[in-house]
Symmetry: C2
């Protein structure tokens, strides 16, 4: 008998019929003798509907109140799923984040989980109940409702699995696993049976939308055995088969993986590039530029500082496209004059493409192969960033699909 | 500067436009220097939508989970209203019942408020904030979400006003006050400027849908000055005018009221009558019949026991029509044999009509006038129940409107 956490996304919870299917699937696992905790998302479309109401009232709604509103989507889901489980003959009870409690910091709309109390859950599990817990949300030290940001239910599920020391966390989703790249961009993309935690982290951070990045961080930090698998199969599929489907996130490189130098091509379409030019080159300049941007809660990704020429340097970095205007305003209005920069320029239409693979560590020539492939397609590289297991380039948005396809082929990811 | 509680019903919160109007009205009161607590209902239709989802999954959904689901409607409302208030330049903060906390017992879907902690609310009010609190819900001693039953937001508002020792509780609704009877049944129905707490209690319990009966009980118990008034007026209506509109629930009979013997005609359409016939007449028989019904949480209203004939008696009572089948099942399956009754019969199509008025205490002849009026219309009386300030009769449902109209006219309620 194992302790298993299931997470179901909004599509899987999208209608009464689908919720009943989730209940059937969970009931099957329960009847096999496992202890089950289930973390469902809001019914698909519900979070958007709620946030749209708030946006109709105010263009800049209070984040605290947004969380009060958005948290209700998951609360409806846990109630409905518990009823569906009971209807399927399974004893079940639901909890909102504050009832567990799932403790977070106070960063409304993008809170981070600090602690999960497992006592209440374990008591119910020991009593034979399936425990259904809201994803996406928690409660801060002042007792305010918080949410974890888009995709936060993945993080909730993995964090709960970590707190309960669960045997496995199954992320049921509308794709059947992690692919070498997005199959909508490259038809030949292949599903990976296994991927290391580090590769998954890079893939997630680089825009592979399968899992929220923080869920992968949690999985890595607490060594939670996590599997991404399909919720679109027949809910009565044999347990043995289901247990081996999808993609498992592993913590060791095994022999098979050693052979594959590159595991996948990740990309992030909606990037923007900002350059602060002609900045007097003196200590602390990077902080003076990026500090105000970070204070405004804007994520900065790639950062490049050119070599200084005649005491002046250029400073270039990327931000998510939807934060571009806000970042430009901050830099133009309050930073530029302060640091005596010559100009602030930007391009909101760039994309990032990356090759990712743990095998890269022990192989040379990956970078040059990547750059040659892009050159052969006539794609100009605007910025480069590297880590131990990935190389990323920033390119004009219009070449993104082309670059991904060319790299997928060049690294032979279409071949088993 | 007064401390005022506003309550807004689902219709008043029915759309983004209406929520903005509520915010305007509250802002007007705040700007006049008052401390404001606002208790909104769920957006109209929302509670029904949520409960329908649950009913689609199970014909008998778990009441605990129903409350988890239903409570979200009000949570969305408080978030949206707080955002609308902030947009109107008013500092506002929202709380769900569990955050206050509003403590209740554990009777899911029909919980009762036991205690309200005023500390957090008072702190925010002292800081100049408008505090927006979910109606309809609370939290039980185990930390489970509870709801107070339909119309529970009225009770929440009055109970919060009591806990805060507020100067007045304003119940904004889609009618402009309490009427001598339902204007949809009797065109000549008149709005009452004042009504005593006791009359209001009888009217509410007898089906006048303006206020939930428990809110009136709270208003009486804690002497909360409560006013029912329209939310459909221009939100910028002069404060002075608004403060004197609607119907005030008073605690003393004043001179004006002494003159009116009868204040209103109340009615309850959806009643059912059940008779247990041929019961051996011995001590404890009433408890043996009604105990199992009460245990099943079915409200019993009028009760009659006939004089015993040859050691046997008949026992007749009424229940809400939607509980009729359940009550009949309990009586037929487990009670009838146990007490050796001859038969259990019933009629699910009866209605109750009542004349209500504190003036009745000092006037004779009200009952005879009522019975004569009904007799003249050819309406048969099936049961009679009386209290100090009301007389109720049970009649065939099809005569209900006729009875109400005839009584309204006979007691000259159409005349000022």
């Amino acid at each position: 008998m194992a302790l298993i956490v299931h997470k179901y996304g909004g599509t899987s919870m999208g209608s009464v019929e689908r919720i009943k299917n989730v209940a059937k699937r969970v009931a099957k696992w329960r009847q096999a003798g496992h202890k089950l905790v289930v973390v469902p998302s809001a019914m698909s479309g519900e979070t958007n509907r709620l946030l749209a109401l708030a946006k109709e009232i105010s263009s800049q709604p209070d984040p605290r109140e947004l969380d009060v509103i958005a948290a209700t989507g998951e609360q409806v889901s846990v109630g409905l799923l518990s009823i569906a489980l009971q209807e399927a003959g399974v004893d079940a009870v639901s909890y909102a984040g504050w009832q567990v409690p799932v403790r977070t910091d106070s960063a409304f709309t993008k809170a981070r989980i600090s602690e999960i109390d497992s006592e209440r859950i374990m008591r119910d599990l020991d009593a034979g109940k399936v425990v259904v817990i809201t994803g996406f949300q928690g409660v801060d030290p002042e007792g305010h409702i918080t949410t974890l940001g888009r995709g936060g239910s993945d993080t909730s599920a993995v964090a709960i699995a970590a707190a309960l020391e669960a045997d496995e966390c199954l992320i049921f989703t509308d794709v059947d696993g992690v692919y070498t790249t997005d199959p909508r961009v490259v038809e030949e993309a292949r599903r990976l049976d296994r991927v290391t935690f580090e590769e998954m982290l890079e893939m997630a951070s680089l825009g592979s939308k399968v899992l929220q990045i923080r869920s992968v961080e949690f999985a890595g930090k607490y060594r939670v055995k996590t599997r991404v698998l399909s919720s679109l199969t027949d809910p009565m599929i044999a347990l043995e088969e289901e247990m081996n489907s999808g993609t498992l996130i592993t913590f060791e490189e095994d022999e098979t993986m050693e052979k594959a130098v590159i595991s996948g091509i990740a990309f992030q379409r909606d990037e923007a590039r900002i350059a602060v030019r002609g900045v007097p080159d003196k200590p602390g300049i990077a902080y003076q530029i990026l500090g105000p941007v970070a204070d405004a809660n804007i994520d900065v990704d790639m950062i490049i500082q050119n070599q200084s020429v005649q005491g002046k340097t250029d400073f270039t970095f990327t931000v998510p496209r939807n934060e571009y205007q806000r970042a430009m305003d901050i830099l133009t209005n309050s930073v530029k004059g302060h640091i005596s920069a010559e100009e602030v320029v930007g391009d909101p239409k760039v994309s990032k493409v990356s090759v990712v693979g743990v095998g890269m560590r022990s192989h040379v020539g990956i970078a040059s192969k990547m750059f040659r492939t892009l050159a052969e397609e006539g794609i100009n590289i605007q910025m480069i960033a590297t880590s131990e297991i990935k190389i990323s380039v920033l390119i004009d948005e219009k070449y993104m699909e082309l670059a991904v396809r060319a790299l997928h082929k060049a690294f032979e990811l279409d071949q088993i």
